[in-house]
Symmetry: C2
């Protein structure tokens, strides 16, 4: 049969695609962006890549792994958005102010991403019920308190979005803007604050509020968290 498939992103020259795993992931990401995690359907993703449904099983053990691949991309984009937000504002002269600015910017970037890519954001935090979103790599060898700031069982490496906020907090401690005793769970609390804001303003009655008000709420929420710390 000579049916040249309309090769979407990366062409397929012959029987073998050459880069199917990527093509599938990208197609899945596109679906997730448009319709959230539920929109990631393996068969259609394969179809969109001009390939048979079962071909996907050569690159993903099952549907869930496809979703995980999308999550990873989403996480990367989240981190990118946060980094962009960091780079956007101009640095403050005082190192303490600068660290605080970075922390605030990181949080703002987090929420901004959620608003800009709700489908991906929802996909990142979805379908747990047995180990998922940032869960997975490395068992929680959790024996409490390693004395330092980081608590065990935390998504350190490989979770840039988390790291960005955590580092800013470390700086604040070094610069004396945050008492060391209060450092302990600050990263999680900060993360939880911006995450809560994102989810509520996205998946709740509050989603109907006009954008300006949402922005006010986000500002207020972040300020409250920073003050409280």
């Amino acid at each position: 049969m000579a049916s040249e498939q309309a090769a979407g992103t990366s062409g397929r020259r012959g029987y073998h695609h050459g880069d199917l795993r990527n093509a599938l992931t990208e197609a899945a990401v596109e679906r997730a962006r448009a319709g959230g995690p539920q929109a990631i359907v393996l068969r259609e993703t394969a179809r969109a890549s001009g390939v048979s449904s079962t071909a996907a099983y050569r690159h993903f053990a099952n549907h869930h792994e496809l979703v995980v691949a999308v999550k990873d991309r989403g996480l990367a984009m989240l981190a990118a958005t946060m980094r962009a937000e960091l780079a956007a504002g101009e640095p403050c002269p005082d190192p303490g102010d600068e660290a605080l600015r970075r922390l605030r910017a990181a949080g703002l970037g987090y929420v901004r991403f959620a608003f800009a890519e709700p489908g991906l954001f929802r996909t990142i935090f979805h379908g747990v019920t047995e180990g998922d979103p940032m869960i997975g790599r490395r068992q929680a060898a959790a024996a409490a308190g390693d004395g330092e700031g980081h608590l065990p069982g935390t998504p350190d490496e490989s979770e840039e979005s988390y790291t960005l906020m955590s580092q800013a907090l470390d700086e604040l401690v070094v610069l004396g803007r945050l008492p060391a005793e209060r450092r302990k769970y600050s990263d999680v609390v900060m993360w939880s604050a911006v995450h809560g804001l994102s989810v509520l303003l996205l998946d709740t009655e509050l989603a109907h509020l006009p954008d300006e008000i949402k922005a006010d709420i986000v500002r207020r929420g972040i300020d409250v968290a920073l003050n409280g710390l």
Copy 2:
């Protein structure tokens, strides 16, 4: 045919069930408790109620409405848990302290419910993409600022869990423990704080942390929010 179905919860005497809507909802709630929103599958729910799949469509327009019914039950249970938490601690003599205690208890109850019923909690906040969790009743007739505390587009009536926190905040203002200017988005911020904590400690690497540490984090998170307000 004389096949007496093993009528699960509420018996079915004959051809007509008598209370199918409730039976279906309860069965669905049970599935959701065990497996989250994804576990709510219409056909099986009908099967569990000893009834044909399509019978469900006499009581729910579609699968989504079944899920909504479960959400409503979940919301009610959430409120109940929060109320229980309020009643648990003994009231403080000073009215200001008491209001603060209530606010903290409400937040704690929220998180406690999330931990106690993760399946229901996840179901409550799930599958949006077009109007859902507390969204739905009444369009956001949102014209900003009615001057008073409540902002338009907020789940006031019918959302007891929200009301509990909101009322405590109102009391704090009346008792002079919270400046009126800062009242404005405090309810949303408080809600978002406890929601963020719940989600992260439930659906994230952090879920692997030992319970005591989670409890510490929750305490810290709530304290930060209260301080920040």
